[in-house]
């Protein structure tokens, strides 16, 4: 942890420089940008601050009390919480919003700096208290983040806030990749906002639309920000970043079921030779699609959240569209607009509804619309797959591609569940350039069965314009039958790998983060229906062995002739003889004559034969 503190020092300095405390106690922003492929990026950001002194006195104004009390009780100094779904398609959408710093892996991800305290178990207790309280607050299964799902990355994360006593803080990180993020998590999220999603840009946040997105991530970040050692504020930033499919979101509410478009309504490509009344090759859509806020989000922005002290500005909308694009702003009030080559900004001071509408339009741009994205080329591409087949072993394979013309240092973090047992001696790196790649640093904590997961951090330099592949083998553990979820054959989720691209002082000033998709790991399954049968059958085999061995060990041998016949065997023999006698008698009675004399003779004969037999004996 001390090393982490030392490493964190430059970033601490950087954060003091860059993160100057916002002048407004509450600020909300909306960032809209159409993306290629008929998608729309919408980034909501709500920032509230409160002076640290009033926070310590339990005086909350803009800061949500529910969250503040949890943080105070668990001695959490900095908190990052993420709810995410879907995949950011960085090959066509470009670099991630906010540098990936407000993004989480699929499911729920949480990391926090918690005060260590004096007693050895206090940290674990506080962390457990934190995740359990947040679990209740956000209706998420955060309480399942136990010791086996918690890790303490050394170099992957650095505190964003200013902490005066960083040595006393420990970073704890947990993920729940199988958590399904849904409306029940959005509602408590909105309740933390001062206007509770009723006014301002948060009125656009409707669960139906948010969770219909191709990619969405919600984040809550709490950090102390100091401009001077005694002038600190506690900042909470809540963001919602989504990528909506414009066509799908604009489906009318009264007809939400997707149906095939009637053929008359499809624009056909008439140059095709087979084009006819009943055959149609859909024409490729050209130009810009029509969309408006009220159509995409279901309603326009409902007024503003009037918390600004001077009342001049309450929210800002940033719209990234080319200069030539027509934008209609529909509102009764006054808005101020600034426009430049690629973006427009609207500041909305008044309590009015606001809608933005962009009509269908063909722009005379040099490049095809699909090739253009308002976001630049990403700093790094990362993907990860499980290789191999069968349920006994497999391999992990991660591909890291650097599209930039300069080498980049990255930190690759993997937190694996304990039932995936990696073999680090098989860890190999391969660069596309053929150059030898070696990790500069490696932090590895092997898993302990049922107690701790694997944690692997690698610091690697990815050369310019090249790809680095890293791979290792692993074994899949078989679990106790009570440890499988009800859908055991679906597989187990493996959390996303986190890649931190370290800021290169000449090219970029802030670290970027990206996360791979989470993976599905199939494990061998026992038969869940037969615990009793297994217990009985195995016990039978063991009893058979034990019984026959101890039978031989404790009894001694004797000649058969020396052993007196057991009383039971004698009785059995008597019964057998009697039955035999009856059987012999019965046929004799049948085929013989009917007279009594004859019967007597037979009886005598029978007796005689018996006597003969006795003599033989």
């Amino acid at each position: 942890m001390r090393i982490a503190a030392l490493l964190a020092l430059p970033a601490w300095l950087a954060s003091t420089v860059h993160a100057s405390p916002p002048t407004q106690p509450y600020d909300e922003q909306l960032h809209l940008a159409p993306l290629p492929g008929g998608n729309l990026y919408a980034g909501f950001s709500f920032t509230a601050t409160t002076p640290l002194t009033s926070y310590d006195e339990q005086h909350f104004r803009y800061f949500p009390r529910a969250l503040g009390q949890i943080l105070q009780y668990t001695h959490t100094k900095e908190l990052h919480l993420r709810f995410a779904r879907g995949r950011w398609d960085d090959e066509s959408w470009g670099t991630r919003p906010r540098g990936g710093r407000r993004e989480g892996g699929t499911g729920v991800e949480i990391w926090a700096w918690v005060e260590r305290g004096q007693e050895p178990d206090l940290l674990q207790e506080r962390w457990s208290g934190l995740v359990n309280s947040l679990s209740g607050l956000f209706c998420a299964s955060l309480n399942f983040i136990d010791g086996a799902k918690t890790s303490s990355p050394v170099v992957s994360f650095e505190p964003e806030g200013t902490h005066l006593n960083l040595d006393n803080l420990d970073l704890l990180h947990g993920t729940l990749p199988n958590e399904v993020v849904c409306t029940e998590n959005l509602t408590p999220f909105l309740k933390l906002l001062p206007c509770k999603g009723k006014a301002g840009i948060s009125s656009l946040l409707d669960g139906h639309k948010i969770f219909d997105a191709n990619w969405q991530t919600m984040s809550i970040d709490v950090r102390p920000v100091c401009s001077a050692p005694d002038d600190c504020v506690l900042e909470i930033q809540q963001t919602v970043d989504i990528v909506l499919d414009i066509q799908r979101s604009m489906r009318p509410r009264d007809n939400p079921i997707p149906r095939p478009v009637p053929i008359e309504k499809i624009p056909c490509d008439e140059t095709k030779e087979y084009n006819a009344e009943d055959t149609c090759y859909p024409k490729k859509f050209e130009g810009e699609m029509f969309w408006s806020l009220s159509k995409v989000f279901g309603q326009p922005i409902q007024g503003n959240c009037p918390l600004a002290e001077d009342g001049t500005k309450s929210y800002e909308i940033k719209l990234e569209v080319p200069f030539e694009r027509t934008v209609e702003v529909i509102t009764d009030g006054n808005i101020s607009e600034t426009k430049d080559q690629s973006e427009r900004r609207y500041s909305v001071p008044e309590q009015q509804t606001l809608d933005i509408s962009l009509p269908e339009q063909v722009l005379e741009v040099h490049t095809a619309p699909d090739a253009r994205s308002p976001f630049d080329t990403p700093r790094l591409y990362a993907s990860r797959q499980i290789t191999g087949y069968g349920q006994q072993r497999g391999g992990m394979h991660a591909v890291l591609t650097n599209p930039q013309p300069y080498a980049q240092k990255i930190i690759y973090l993997e937190s694996l569940p304990w039932f995936l047992r990696p073999f680090m001696h098989t860890l190999t790196f391969r660069a596309s350039s053929g150059a030898e790649v070696r990790p500069e640093k490696m932090y590895y904590t092997p898993a302990l069965d049922r107690k701790r997961g694997t944690q692997l951090e690698l610091q690697v330099e990815v050369p310019a314009h090249s790809t680095v592949e890293l791979s290792y083998e692993f074994e899949k553990a078989i679990l106790r039958y009570t440890e499988y979820p009800p859908d055991a054959n679906r597989g187990f989720d493996v959390p996303a790998a986190v890649v931190r691209v370290i800021a290169n002082t000449t090219e970029a000033d802030q670290d970027a983060y990206l996360r791979t998709t989470s993976l599905l790991l199939p494990l061998p399954t026992p038969d869940f229906s037969m615990p009793y049968n297994v217990i009985i059958l195995t016990s039978t085999v063991i009893a058979l062995g034990f019984g026959s061995i101890f039978n031989l060990l404790v009894r001694r041998f004797a000649l058969a002739s020396e052993v007196p016949p057991s009383p039971f065997a004698t009785k059995l023999k008597a019964v057998r003889d009697r039955i035999r006698g009856l059987v012999q008698k019965a046929p004799a009675a049948k085929d013989g004559g009917e007279t009594k004399d004859e019967k007597k003779v037979k009886g005598l004969n029978g007796k005689r034969t018996v006597d003969v037999n006795r003599k033989d004996l």
């Binding site: 092997p446 078989i478 031989l552 041998f557 000649l559």
Partner: protein, 461 residues
């Protein structure tokens, strides 16, 4: 070379020929099929969590990086193997793989040599107070060695390189020294075997009695009158020579000596391990893993599926029951077979091979070969018992085990019960063989006392 010459070479130096042929076979297999060792290392029948060569490599990697290899759930093998294997070239290379094969072949040859010496010593036939009436039917030392060396289970285990091969080598070494009456060496060897994997501890009573028996024989030989000069002539004469009890070592003192030697050897080994490692964490990792079974990877034993399906509330209870069950055999065998201590040791090895928590076919191969040391009594089990069904069940298990494992894990067309059923059949077959041999050994002993009972029907009372 004409056949007669070849035969004569074999008759003159059977051991050298066998060892040479076995070493050639193993190294050739590794050279001709370079993928074979890696394939066998991955088989669940050979590699278990406590002996897998791949996990050893992982432990070695962590050890060489300066981390504590026992602070994790993957590596559970004895610490002193680490410096040994770190001397070898990395097994990822062709040379490293070949070196490891050569090392394991050498271990197999040591074991074979020990088996040869045990068979030659005749300890299975003659003890201080007992001489088998069937000693003329004993199998020759060369054939028992050949059975060990060319046993498919042994060959596969050698190529799969589990660390239990070390355990078998030291167990065999201990038995062979016990048959020579070298008490200290035998105890030390069994201490090393117990250090590598816990269960050879259960062989200590049998080996102690074997040592005591041999030491007494030697003492009585030394003090014997001149008219019976050698032990063999005494045996052939079948004369019971009155032995002066005062010259014999006292059993209690002898047992104390052996226990002290064992404890001392074990303590030295553990302290040496501690010196290599940063903490004592290896003790729970190496010795508690077979006791508590945290890793339920399938193996040909009976524990794994039982504890997968066990209800959580009863898990600790049944772990205790299973271990007590294994412990329950050691002393009764020694008490009942006190006159044939080698038989007690071999049968105990059988119990271990069948009932150990992480069973593997390497142990079974070694046990089946050692069983041939008792070859003189096989006629009894084949006449009176169920040897054929048992052997058929073992063969059935051998062939269907890998097939059913494939159906479950890879093809997905069978479930875990397929492989479980086969492990049950396999254990049952081995158990029947074990029981039959026990019967034969006991009956042989009984017929020695009552020669008139030979070939007659008997009862147990």
């Amino acid at each position: 070379m004409p056949a007669s010459t070849r035969a004569s070479v074999y008759h003159e130096h059977p051991k050298a020929v066998l060892l040479g042929a076995a070493a050639t076979l193993r190294i050739l297999l590794a050279l001709v099929f370079p993928q074979l060792p890696a394939l066998l290392t991955g088989r669940v029948e050979i590699s278990t969590p406590v002996n897998s060569f791949k996990r050893l490599q992982e432990g070695l990697y962590l050890y060489e990086k300066g981390l504590d290899p026992y602070n994790g759930g993957v590596f559970h093998q004895a610490p002193l193997l680490l410096p040994l294997f770190s001397l070898l070239p990395s097994s990822a290379t062709w040379l490293g793989s070949l070196t490891s094969i050569i090392l394991y072949t050498a271990l197999d040859l040591i074991t074979a040599n020990c088996i040869f010496r045990i068979a030659q010593s005749g300890a299975a036939l003659i003890s201080r107070t007992f001489t088998s009436p069937r000693q003329d039917r004993a199998w020759s030392a060369a054939s028992i060695t050949a059975i060990y060396l060319f046993n498919p289970f042994t060959v596969l285990a050698c190529l799969g390189r589990p660390t239990t091969v070390f355990t078998t080598a030291f167990t065999a070494l201990s038995l062979s020294h016990a048959c020579q009456g070298n008490t200290i060496t035998a105890t030390f060897a069994i201490a090393i075997a117990s250090y590598i994997s816990l269960h050879p501890l259960l062989l200590l009573p049998a080996i102690g009695i074997l040592c005591y028996d041999q030491v007494c024989q030697r003492e009585s030989l030394a003090t014997e009158s001149s008219n019976v000069s050698t032990r063999s002539s005494k045996v052939i004469a079948g004369v019971k020579v009155a032995v002066d009890q005062r010259t014999q070592p006292k059993p209690v003192i002898f047992a104390a000596q052996i226990s002290a030697t064992f404890a001392l050897a074990l303590a030295v080994l553990l302290l040496l391990s501690r010196a290599l490692l940063p903490s004592w964490q290896f003790i729970p990792s190496v010795y508690a893993t077979p006791l508590t079974l945290p890793d339920l990877t399938p193996n040909p034993g009976v524990w794994w599926y039982f504890f997968i399906e066990m209800f959580d509330a009863f898990r600790s209870f049944f772990l205790g029951v299973f271990w007590l069950h294994m412990l329950a055999y050691s002393v009764p065998f020694c008490l009942r077979l006190g006159r044939q201590p080698l038989a007690a040791a071999v049968l105990m090895m059988g119990v271990i091979a069948v009932f150990e928590p992480y069973a593997n076919i390497g142990d079974v191969g070694f046990w089946l070969s050692c069983l041939c040391l008792l070859g003189h009594v096989f006629e009894l089990s084949s006449i009176h018992r169920y040897t054929f069904p048992a052997l058929a069940a073992i063969l059935y298990g051998t062939l269907l085990g890998p097939a059913f494992h494939h159906l479950w894990i890879y093809a997905g067309s069978g479930n875990a019960n397929f492989f479980y059923a086969i492990t049950l059949v396999w254990s049952l077959g081995l158990l029947i063989l074990l029981t039959d041999t026990l019967y034969s050994v006991l009956r042989d002993e009984w017929e020695n006392d009552r020669p008139e009972g030979k070939g007659k029907e008997i009862r147990q009372i």
